[in-house]
Symmetry: D2
Subunit: 428 residues, 4 copies
């Protein structure tokens, strides 16, 4: 990055860029005349210059000032290669902290400050209140129930007889296919092969242990090799490396049932006293709100999420921590349960398909890496996979905090209204 | 950023902050001793100072440098009030541009450069290719089919007889309830009331025209008043202002069927020649990929999205444009269809629940507002609602570009493999 | 039946058939040689003879005695024309009665004996116990929340612009389409038109009040005319008169959300005392079983039914009462809720899509009509529609009885085990 | 029936009953006074007499003649014990035959006449046409992809930590649990154990090979023992033996993904010539109808079935063959696919959860057994399981015939309309 040793220059001050103003003007002229493509800038310019010229071009094309977008501090050398083509700068998403939250996981132990990148007012405050309650309750239990990233190529076959032959071949050649996968990656490991048939469509859902990576890339590369082998040996035609039974970035029952990413569950027991003090409500009302809203309401709506607002926490932590934001869709398919217990309530969140990683993707971008560092999970873990699992445990705890807080708030209002109505002598 | 004195100082250089170092040290000491709460900083410090002190506190607590997170340029006066509590800085999400893409909508006309905030390599390039194809095809058709933001309070009733009475009362007092809503907002307008019953649970799904706002806030305020009125008049107990039949931030069939936000559909006709030149495949193969992957695969997976990667574009544009990132979950429940036509294919994306706005929420944050300005949709439209609808049309076109490109790429690989296999004389 | 010569002879005794043995032998020979088709028998033979000859042919072809299948008593003159082609006889499905059950509906008042056609041991006994509890509780409340049978033709359009045009045309020509429907039926009445778009697919969901008929036939006839009109006026191509958004005989969220058939809800309040005496359990345990099994379990399974065994009662009463047995799929998408109340529990079943009728279809078959008569709902009601709605109310009450009984039984076992474990001093 | 002395007397003629008229009158009086319960009749009377007295009682209570319901021929000795309590007689469901249909399965080979018990006019004729097409095409391919009946008890645990302990215990004690199952049944065999967690709810989905039985009974008995063992060893509380993740008689994604009963797929290739001759349409139109209706329409409706009318055939064959009619819900969750091929189309139906048996349940009832005999599958197979699988293959072929026929009919109409419109020179 860019010449001055402190920050790179992002504001267009000529002195700090590696390319002269004249040269940039020539490039801009070429862009405008169409003799140079916008994505070709990095071929002839240093990353920072390319981004600046591109931004200026867009400013001129759209007659807009992109001053703030240009005011980034992150080192973009790797970003333009790995994370973002045609880069013009960065958006700044405000980060608030909630916590500390006490986590009793198998990978995450102790207190953590949760970074939440969001523009939705009240979200951080809400999660913060949940974190406080969790702390008072002695911490959240968290467990990872399953861990595996998947890809499911789809093949076209000639007939359902052929479909059965392909399935049979796959089921009797698991070792062969594991060997094929092994050749493509030193990090990932093939852990599951499940075939599905729909008429002449055969889907082979491949599952891998991807250690600290979210892993879609390594999984896709390994799956391509496996798919080629299957095609070659069975005569099935590979139609698409992703056949949507993976299922990536679409809410899908298969992910809930088979698990995908880090299947994580978190829970906490709240005493009657704590419920009264922190949430100004009572156990029965919390249970009622959860049942009528999160269970009955979601069921009646034909929803695939049985929670209050898990998506808010998942999205905010994913953006902060350099996760793939589109994966919030998979990650947020959460079920929140609240049981009445002799001593209060037990609240739990179940996240069957939370795809997270601490290496690769956006985890290396400057600001995102700082968030991961705040959580002590930047980079690869020891043993491999430990960091990604720790991150999953922390995010699940954040989701639990958010659920606690919102359900608690709704219950408090409900209880308050009920008291008020009773006070007014109204029949309910 | 840095160095021009116009922006706030975010990099921790002492001289530029409004509060003295001593004062900050005292505050830090109070935080550490617990006599001051982290969220109370804004009460005694200017926003920028509060954020800096809080960040320093977190740096010290987590033993982490948060230099980049502190290096923001956006004006945070409003942000700390409206968008993010306990702010410590911002994450920088790289923004690439795709386009220009030619849009033939009812609100968006002409060429647009799409800002995509993402760390997923290849995404911008992929969307870019789709935009190019759309341009060569004469532009994408886009239409908004329905427009309404919803909230569905859940009430507890005594019996199913009571449930029917509540439903009947609501259905005969639509005017009354519209009047109640009118009193709470000058912008929103109640446009629909649909009751649902599940045993002793009554859900009243309220729909509003929210003009240029995404609108959850105004809708929630109006719904609270309406819910109180219903409770008062019918004796139903209001359990939660959101009963999950809204459905907000959970994938839900009700949103697909009733619509939510801006229900938008976009399509484009590609000629055989264009398919060959741009995508290196043919019409039949594109149809086959779409059918086997997006229709059959998703159906077989029990998925609620019938698309290739709509979530990528929705999430990237939502983050860039200051939309609620958790709404990507609603927005991405897209269906992609590809028809074989006499001249090639017609590709369409249907997004029944795309919740977007150009005022409120994160739209006022500096970098996000610049992205909205790039699209010519920052702030309120003329007439009101026109900007938000224009944004929805542009995002839908971006999704179309992404789908075109990925399906095209899969089809090209499929076709290439098929040719290769034929070349080897293999039976398929 | 039975020796009087007035009814058809079903037992194969030659003397009683209208056709001579020789003639039958000739016909059989033609069938075997292929010069006569099996379905052509009714053209040359009286219904009873045709059925007998066909049965003999099948007996000979399959080397099986079909003595019992031939031993029917129902008058088959209309059956062979309206209900069943290529008839060879009838299967006898055992009918048990449960009840009487006390119904407090808007159409059904008083006690009813429920006919259940089933071969599943314990089902009738289970429903019977539920009926008894309902009686002791003062009867079940039942209400119909919505009533309408639907058909949704699917049209292909040229583009999404065309799709919007079709939708707009339909929405501005509701009166025209209602007039078209009117011309096809004196019984049914068009009550709703809702368009849906998925790319170039336009679905027009037409809803009708079908009075006492289940109504698919009249609805289909009227829909055909309407679809032709839409095609003629808009240039949309009608692809299929049923486009699966109806949705008929497939479990579908749209039916839960929009309603289909008779949307019915039934509930009953059980006192603590009654729960103890009849079900040997307690209120909290019933609530727990319902929550963990019917709400959480179904949600976790990705199920579209949130009940214990509604399908058993719906199927058994449908078969007994001459309803379309395949409609049990629609009818059984039931949600069971159990609330803890100050006095015990309130149990309710919600059946959003219960398609039933008392005229047409199988309702005229001898045995089935007797079952309808048992319930006082055979034939058309006064006013029209009253009988079908009464039947819906009774069936919903039967479902409630079944749910009560099974959940009660599970709760009793659960409670017993808990006591036993406590008795053994086991930690739970 | 009637007049030969061999069958039981069902028509109320006094001379033939085993109990005197006086005695019956006394019993009736007791029933009316309430001193005798309706279900107690079999304790003091022979089955036939008990049924007759009960029917007379109901006739008198409902003021209805139940002549036809009383006119059954089946031997009810076992029926009243095993299939139906409180029996009053039987309904007669007309049976038509379709076929013969040529099946190329692994268990079913050759031609079969399909018995369909239905009152829905045109159904048998429709299936018949499909059978004819299948025959002309050389028969239907059928394969069973998975075979296992399931039960999933739900346990309550104290915390998510406890949940993980239970899961771990189960996964490390598979042999123990298999041994427990073995002790309860000589027929069934435990073949799978899959644990699922939702907060404090632990579901253990147990899968069994049930040979020729549909198997719910043996599975439930074995599951009860296993559940007790789990509860004893882990401290988990067994809440319900069926926790709805089985999933029985509710449409559920888990059954599609994991399979339940006999997961069966059937397909057939139709040549262009055959499509023209039998269906009066063409290949492209069949594909279009299937895509727009069965794939896009069902997806847009949030449906769990992607077929035209699989439920009709499943329900009709289930009723004819003594299957549990409520299982039509599980059985009918079918996906129909139609591929364009160089020579025409390949049509396939995929039925992932078809629960059928040839022993137990209603398979022993006289008429139903005759239907099973027609198909050569009555009783246990050789090897065990072969008959039930053969039945599954035949039913799947019936479903295929039904789908072919209805899609073909819709396509023919579509094509005819298209031609007509073209003939009129209309713009489409």
């Amino acid at each position: 990055m860019a010449g001055d040793g402190e920050h790179q220059n992002n504001t267009g001050t000529p002195a700090r860029v590696g390319t002269g103003r004249d040269e940039q003007a020539q490039v801009l002229a070429k862009l405008r005349s169409g003799t140079l493509k916008l994505y070709e800038l990095e071929k002839s310019l240093a990353p920072l210059d390319a981004v600046q010229v591109r931004r200026e071009f867009i400013e001129s094309e759209t007659n807009t000032s992109l001053e703030h977008i240009g005011a980034f501090s992150i080192d973009i050398g790797r970003v333009v290669e790995r994370n973002c083509e045609n880069m013009i700068g960065a958006v700044q998403v405000p980060v608030g902290v909630a916590g500390p939250v006490l986590v009793n996981g198998e990978y995450a132990h102790g207190e953590f400050w949760l970074p939440l990148a969001t523009t939705e007012g009240a979200l951080v405050a809400s999660v913060n209140r949940g974190c406080s309650a969790i702390g008072k309750a002695g911490g959240a239990d968290v467990r990872i129930l399953h861990d595996g990233m998947t890809r499911a190529p789809v093949f076209a076959v000639e007939s359902i007889v052929h479909a059965k032959q392909v399935v049979d071949w796959v089921e009797t050649h698991r070792e062969t296919l594991a060997g094929v996968a092994q050749g493509t990656t030193s990090h990932g490991k093939l852990t599951g092969i499940v075939p599905y048939v729909a008429g002449t469509n055969v889907f082979i859902r491949l599952e891998f242990d991807t250690k600290d990576a979210m892993g879609m890339n390594m999984v896709t590369i390994a799956s391509a090799k496996i798919a080629d082998e299957i095609a070659k040996e069975t005569g099935a035609r590979l139609v698409a490396l992703s056949g949507n039974m993976c299922t990536d970035k679409k809410p899908a029952a298969i992910n809930g049932i088979m698990g995908r990413g880090r299947s994580t569950v978190a829970g906490v027991a709240l005493s009657h006293d704590l419920i009264t003090r922190v949430f100004k409500t009572d156990a029965a009302t919390m249970v009622e709100v959860n049942t009528r809203k999160n269970l009955v309401g979601s069921a009646r709506a034909g929803a695939m999420g049985f929670n209050a607002h898990a998506a808010n926490v998942v999205a905010a932590m994913f953006i902060a921590c350099g996760q793939d934001a589109a994966h919030a869709i998979d990650g947020a398919t959460c079920m929140t349960t609240i049981d009445l217990t002799p001593t209060g309530v037990y609240v739990a969140v179940t996240l069957p398909s939370l795809p997270v990683g601490t290496v690769g993707g956006g985890t290396g971008v400057g600001t995102q890496q700082e968030c991961l560092k705040m959580l002590g999970v930047a980079g690869g873990g020891d043993p491999p996979g430990a960091n990604a699992r720790k991150l999953a445990e922390i995010i699940a705890t954040g989701v639990l905090a958010g659920e606690l807080s919102l359900v608690g708030a709704l219950a408090a209002q409900h209880l308050a209204r009920a008291h008020k109505e009773l006070g007014r002598g109204e029949k309910r």
